[in-house]
């Protein structure tokens, strides 16, 4: 059972295999950032008033984590609902979370547990589209083709890249370990597409695609090539380039910078961390992705999207959570929050961890839990978020919020507020339709420090 849920052939119930996601994921690297975009961003970055957070690490638990087993336990509920896990006390008196999160229990004083997130889309692709773009998609669930599949509406990472721009030596929006379904730039265009690592930093041979000069080209030869290229460009027709070709020239400079900049290369090199630090994050995909995210924030990245799956536990929910899914996540999140705090970076780095939905309170016949978007728990930390708070509450079966429910737009508005992005700013699609960054919604003041 366990293998079926989490093994190499694991699938979402939309029948896209992880392998396929990776394979079709190539489209996620369609482009990176344009220089005009970057320059514009640097210019607008000056207006970044009163932002609490300079960067955001967004952890997407794809498939939908079980809120009732992790963050919002209901020990009083009947056994067909409460499941086998017990609540445990945490470092914050009165706050209890699931026993499968022992490491987070020690650091919940650093973050906010938002238990009243709720939205109306109970499917993976469409739900994730809504969560990450703020807009419902124009395709039915399961019909998305390719990655990214947010063709029209920009992902929040692209919005952050556009509004905050570059800071430091790395691109402003990076995805790891693979492209996210709705991670694309939508109608904002390739300039605001993520730079996708497309490789798992937990792999021993991890490296960033196209970032390193191939081993067959020795360093002195690469230096010679750059020298030759500089000369060829200065002499030939290239020197007279206008328009897009001129833009391309600036990308070359950026690309050469990225390839040759010790800071950038260092930022990407998780292997440069001590074994102790790497182990503290966990030698897992989510652990090393979180560590890489911290390094990228240090190097100036604005938005790192970490995707982790597969949480779609229709069968064998409990073993999957207890053995496979939660332990690396518990380690990664607790270490990320603590590490950032120890380095004095937590107050300016916003961390968001959520799925596209929660899971059904009622346990199904396969010991699984199904899709449940009406209630899920979102973890928020740093960057102007309250420390040690629990916000909102669900009913006695964790089915619906009994306090003010907070929807997708509310959460996005809150994230953008903390990053100093004007959520009401409007951009026009190629057809001229105005699209505000967030359409409606209210900031969630309860979670703000």
């Amino acid at each position: 059972m366990f293998d079926k849920t989490f093994g190499v052939d694991s699938r979402f119930c939309d029948r896209i295999t992880r392998r396929r996601m990776l394979r079709i994921g190539g489209t996620g690297v369609l482009g990176s950032l344009s220089l005009p975009g970057l320059l514009h961003l640097q210019a607008t970055a000056a207006t970044e008033q009163a932002a609490k957070a300079k960067a955001c690490i967004f952890i997407m638990l794809e498939g939908g984590p079980s809120h009732i087993d992790m963050w919002d336990l209901k020990p009083e509920a009947p056994s067909e609902i409460r499941g086998p896990f017990k609540p445990i006390s945490t470092v914050v008196p009165g706050t209890q979370i699931g026993e499968i999160l022992p490491l987070c229990a020690k650091v919940v004083d650093k973050f906010t547990i938002l238990r009243s997130h709720s939205h109306a889309d109970n499917a993976h692709q469409t739900g994730r589209h809504w969560v990450m773009t703020g807009y419902p998609p124009n395709f039915p669930d399961g019909q998305a083709r390719g990655v990214p599949f947010n063709e029209l509406y920009p992902s929040l990472g692209s919005i952050v890249a556009r509004e905050l721009g570059e800071r430091g030596s790395v691109p402003p929006y990076i995805e790891v370990p693979e492209p996210m379904g709705p991670g694309g730039p939508g109608f904002y265009g390739a300039k605001y597409a993520p730079f996708t690592i497309n490789n798992d930093p937990a792999q021993p041979d991890f490296e960033v695609r196209d970032l390193n000069v191939p081993e067959s080209v020795a360093e002195d030869r690469f230096a010679r090539r750059r020298r030759l290229l500089e000369r060829a460009e200065a002499l030939g027709e290239s020197a007279k380039a206008t328009g897009k070709a001129k833009t391309m020239a600036s990308y070359y400079e950026k690309a050469v910078d990225l390839v040759t900049s010790p800071e950038a290369r260092k930022a990407f090199d998780v292997r440069g961390e001590s074994a102790a630090v790497r182990e503290r994050y966990g030698l897992t995909s989510i652990g090393q992705s979180a560590l890489l995210a911290r390094r990228l924030v240090e190097a100036g990245c604005r938005f790192i999207g970490i995707s982790h799956g597969s949480w779609d536990t229709h069968t064998d929910n409990f073993a999957s959570h207890e053995k496979a899914l939660v332990p690396p996540t518990d380690r990664a999140l607790s270490t990320l929050v603590s590490d950032l705090d120890e380095r004095g970076m937590l107050d300016e780095t916003l961390i968001v961890m959520m799925g596209e939905m929660g899971r059904t309170p009622r346990i199904n016949k396969d010991a699984g839990r199904d899709h449940w978007s009406q209630c899920q728990t979102v973890i928020l930390a740093g960057g102007g978020i309250k420390r040690g708070a629990v916000v909102g509450a669900s009913d006695k079966t964790a089915s619906i919020p009994v306090t003010q429910p907070y929807g997708v737009q509310d959460l996005l508005r809150t994230i953008f507020h903390l990053l100093g992005v004007d959520a009401d700013k409007v951009y026009h699609t190629p057809l001229g339709r105005p699209v505000p960054i967030v359409n409606g919604g209210k900031r969630i003041d309860e979670v703000l420090a």
Binding site: G26, R145, E151, A193, R225, L228, A245, M248, P436
Partner: protein
């Protein structure tokens, strides 16, 4: 109500210098307390009048009747007649004014007056209450296309709390709009302004919804329609609306203005056009109650007259006309090598080989360029390349139609190109296809375009350059199309049925079709082409043929224009209209006479695209160099120099393979296929994805990623696949290393292979460096060659077509 009679002729008076003024309008007539008019003051002493509105002084003879602002806006104060004196430094003039309807105002028209205010104030804009789900519970129809709905929303919804006729001032509508109670959109109407008073009066009058009539507006006009501005020059515009009876009404204050070229000229909310320092042309779009008008702005350079270059055909004549007018001198003619590379890449998506380059460069015949183009259009790669481009536009998507149908349709398209089937017949065949998607035919088109609505959208954008999709839900904001036009078009495609076909695939058959209902009114709308009379059919299953006949006729105002623009954009790097598939009155061509002439030419050659292409490539204009001069550096829309076009993903991949001498291996395909031959649009390829191959999910030409990116730069520099091609033991570098060519000749060969030109002396010298520093071991020689090859593959000169 709005008399069209001129009350008196304008009085033109000579000033001290003998200059005279022309005032728009000739006489002011205001017929309600909230009306206003905009005066425009023009110098009348030469044929290109300058705008003096902002420099003139205005004075009403009787200031109790009207007030005139410093910017020339006239508002009524009391009924009566008077005159306004207009003075500039050197001249003066006087115009008559009549004010009526202040003491006894005509009732406010919701359809006309209130809708106009809701539009201009932005209340019903797509970003506010006009969006599909409204804003904070208050929804208006976008741009006021449905006044009855808006009336209902304002008067009845929200438990009627939005309006309060007993005390109009405390109506929520006004309190919100004037910002007296918190309003997410801020203050949209100034307290006690004319609009405020208008809305207040409408509420006080009982919030009536007037009957649908011709009173609102049947068309609008803007004055002047064409202006010529110096750098930072200004022009005030004036807008009038005409009702069904032909009466004119001033609506400048209520009209919406927008420039299609802000880099050249912008426009303010009040209709003041301001030029920048960039020369060129812009169109100012004016919109009022669903009607549109355009003012064309020409911004010539201050100086720089130049001798008119020679002409090879009508394209040059019309292009030079425009450049002469703008005083933008074109660049020099491109040299043979540049022309060679450009013509190869543009027509067949393929680089010339070193031998082909040598042969062309050494040819001394004066007509060699023309002969080259003629030969290129006959090559098999021409068919490959254009079959791929049409497959992109027609969305031949393997994921939807399956591999067999993808192959079948791609093959069919290629055959049409090989046979040079006239374009009108090609489109007719696509539109009227029947039978299995597995047969060599365009049947798969109807599998992708799976319903009448989708077909209406795709077919209009694809073949007619009309983006009707806006009108699915509301009146097109910049066009005359509305929901009626949309369903009328969709009605043609109600005959299409898709049946599972024996042996796989889908069979396209025609069944009885029917006219569709208007989504708002429910009235049945007869199938009709855009701006055309309802179609007649031989039978109810014959609708597609009727559509195809209308669409592809030589008189169709959209059909030839669309393909002309597509081909022009392909060869010249920018459409005469941009975006290339967005043709509308409010998006004029950057050179309308040239567009007209091209359309006539295409019709004259009976839609023979090859003949048409020859004409394009034969022009002097196509053969200009990409290097800009001081006069044309900023010009992006008049073709004064060639543009740098990024090589499409497939073409670039083939070019890399050709230069390195190592063909790409596509997973599951036999070796030797080129990327422009691959029919499978979902074939995994990191290279193609990085360089932006289209996803074939829409018919939009904008699908192909043309924005350069850093990922592309990184990929060319470092990708293992490219590097291993350079180093391949059977590749060109290895072969050259094994040869006994001297380094100079090796460098020459590499330049010809990648850049299609001989290296200059300086190039040669620079690229010989690696040969000099290395003790010339076999490995050293090969490394040097690889390094030069890598260098050339990474130049912009290689990555772009210029």
């Amino acid at each position: 109500m709005f008399a069209a009679v001129l009350l008196s002729a304008p009085i033109l008076a000579a000033g001290d210098s003998g200059a005279s003024l022309r005032i728009l309008p000739e006489a002011v007539q205001l017929t309600s307390p909230e009306a206003s008019d905009q005066l425009v003051v023009l110098s009348a002493h030469d044929e290109r009048p300058a705008d003096l509105t902002r420099r003139a002084a205005f004075e009403a003879a009787d200031p109790r009747i009207v007030a005139v602002s410093a910017t020339g806006r006239v508002v009524p104060l009391a009924d009566g007649r008077t005159t306004i004196a207009v003075r500039t430094q050197s001249a003066q003039a006087q115009i008559a004014v009549e004010v009526r309807g202040v003491a006894l105002p005509p009732p406010v028209s919701f359809r006309r007056d209130i809708t106009a205010v809701l539009s201009k104030a932005g209340c019903n804009a797509g970003g506010c209450h006009g969006k599909a789900e409204g804003q904070n519970g208050f929804k208006l129809s976008v741009f006021g296309y449905d006044p009855a709905f808006d009336h209902q929303a304002i008067v009845s919804q929200g438990r009627g709390r939005r309006v309060f006729p007993a005390a109009p001032d405390i109506s929520l509508l006004l309190l919100k709009a004037t910002g007296r109670v918190p309003h997410g959109g801020g203050q949209k109407i100034e307290p006690d302004s004319r609009w405020h008073r208008l809305v207040r009066r409408w509420i006080a009058e009982g919030m009536l919804l007037d009957a649908e009539s011709g009173d609102a507006a049947v068309r609008i006009a803007v004055e002047p329609t064409e202006v010529r501005l110096a750098a930072h020059g200004e022009q005030q515009l004036r807008v009038v609306a005409f009702d069904a009876a032909g009466n004119a009404r001033p609506v400048t204050a209520e009209a919406d203005f927008r420039s299609n070229g802000d880099a050249i000229a912008g426009v303010s909310r009040d209709g003041l056009v301001k030029a920048t320092e960039v020369p060129g042309e812009a169109a100012i779009l004016v919109r009022y109650l669903g009607h549109v008008a355009v003012c064309r702005v020409v911004r010539p350079r201050e100086s720089g007259d130049f001798p008119r270059p020679p002409e090879r055909n009508f394209i040059d004549r019309l292009a030079w006309d425009k450049l002469v007018e703008l005083r933008i001198a074109p660049s020099e003619m491109a040299d043979d090598a540049t022309f060679l590379r450009r013509a190869f890449l543009d027509t067949i998506g393929t680089l010339p080989t070193p031998d082909e380059a040598r042969r062309f460069l050494s040819d001394t015949a004066p007509d060699k360029r023309r002969r080259l183009v003629a030969a290129l259009l006959e090559r098999p790669e021409f068919a490959d390349y254009w079959a791929q481009q049409w497959s992109d536009l027609l969305q031949v998507d393997r994921d939807i139609v399956g591999s067999q149908a993808t192959v079948a349709m791609t093959r069919w398209i290629r055959e049409q190109i090989v046979a040079n089937v006239p374009y009108d017949r090609f489109v007719r065949d696509v539109l009227t296809v029947q039978g299995s998607t597995l047969a060599e035919s365009p049947a798969a088109f109807y599998q992708v375009q799976s319903d009448p609505q989708k077909l209406a959208r795709s077919v209009s954008q694809l073949f007619l350059g009309v983006r009707i999709e806006c009108a699915q839900c509301h009146h097109h904001p910049f066009e005359r199309w509305d929901q009626k036009d949309y369903v009328a078009l969709a009605g043609f495609f109600t005959t299409v049925e898709r049946k599972p076909s024996f042996g796989g695939g889908v069979k396209i058959v025609d069944v009885e079709g029917k006219d569709l209902a208007h989504p708002r009114t429910g009235a049945i709308v007869p199938a009709a082409g855009l701006a055309a009379a309802p179609a007649s059919f031989r039978s109810q299953t014959d609708r597609r043929r009727a559509f195809a006949e209308w669409a592809t006729s030589a008189d169709n105002p959209f059909f030839a224009r669309t393909i002309v623009n597509r081909l022009w954009a392909h060869y010249f790097g920018r459409g005469l209209v941009e975006p290339v598939d967005d043709l509308r009155a409010t998006n004029p061509a950057s050179n309308e006479p040239l567009m007209q002439a091209l359309v006539e030419h295409l019709v004259a050659v009976k839609f023979d695209l090859r003949a048409f292409t020859k004409t394009l490539l034969d022009s002097q204009l196509y053969q200009l160099d990409a290097a800009a001069n001081d006069a044309n550096r900023l010009d992006e829309q008049n073709y004064s120099h060639a543009v740098w076009k990024p090589l499409p993903a497939e073409v670039l991949l083939d070019a890399v393979s050709q230069v390195t001498g190592v063909s790409e291996e596509f997973n599951g395909w036999p070796r030797g296929y080129r990327a422009i031959q691959v029919w499978d649009n979902k074939l995994p390829s990191h290279f193609l994805d990085t360089f932006g191959r289209p996803t074939r999910q829409t018919v939009c030409a904008c699908e192909r990623g043309v924005e350069p990116s850093m990922a592309q730069a990184l990929h060319l520099m470092n990708a293992e696949a490219t590097v291993s091609k350079i180093q391949h033991r059977d590749g060109r570098a290895a072969e050259l290393a094994r040869s006994d060519l001297r380094p100079e000749s090796v460098v020459e060969e590499l330049y010809l292979a990648s850049l299609s030109r001989y290296p200059s002396d300086a190039d040669r010298q620079a690229m010989l460096e690696p040969f000099a520093v290395t003790a010339m071991s076999v490995e050293g020689r090969r490394a040097a060659i690889e390094d030069v090859m890598w260098t050339l593959l990474n130049t912009k000169e290689f990555v772009f077509n210029h």
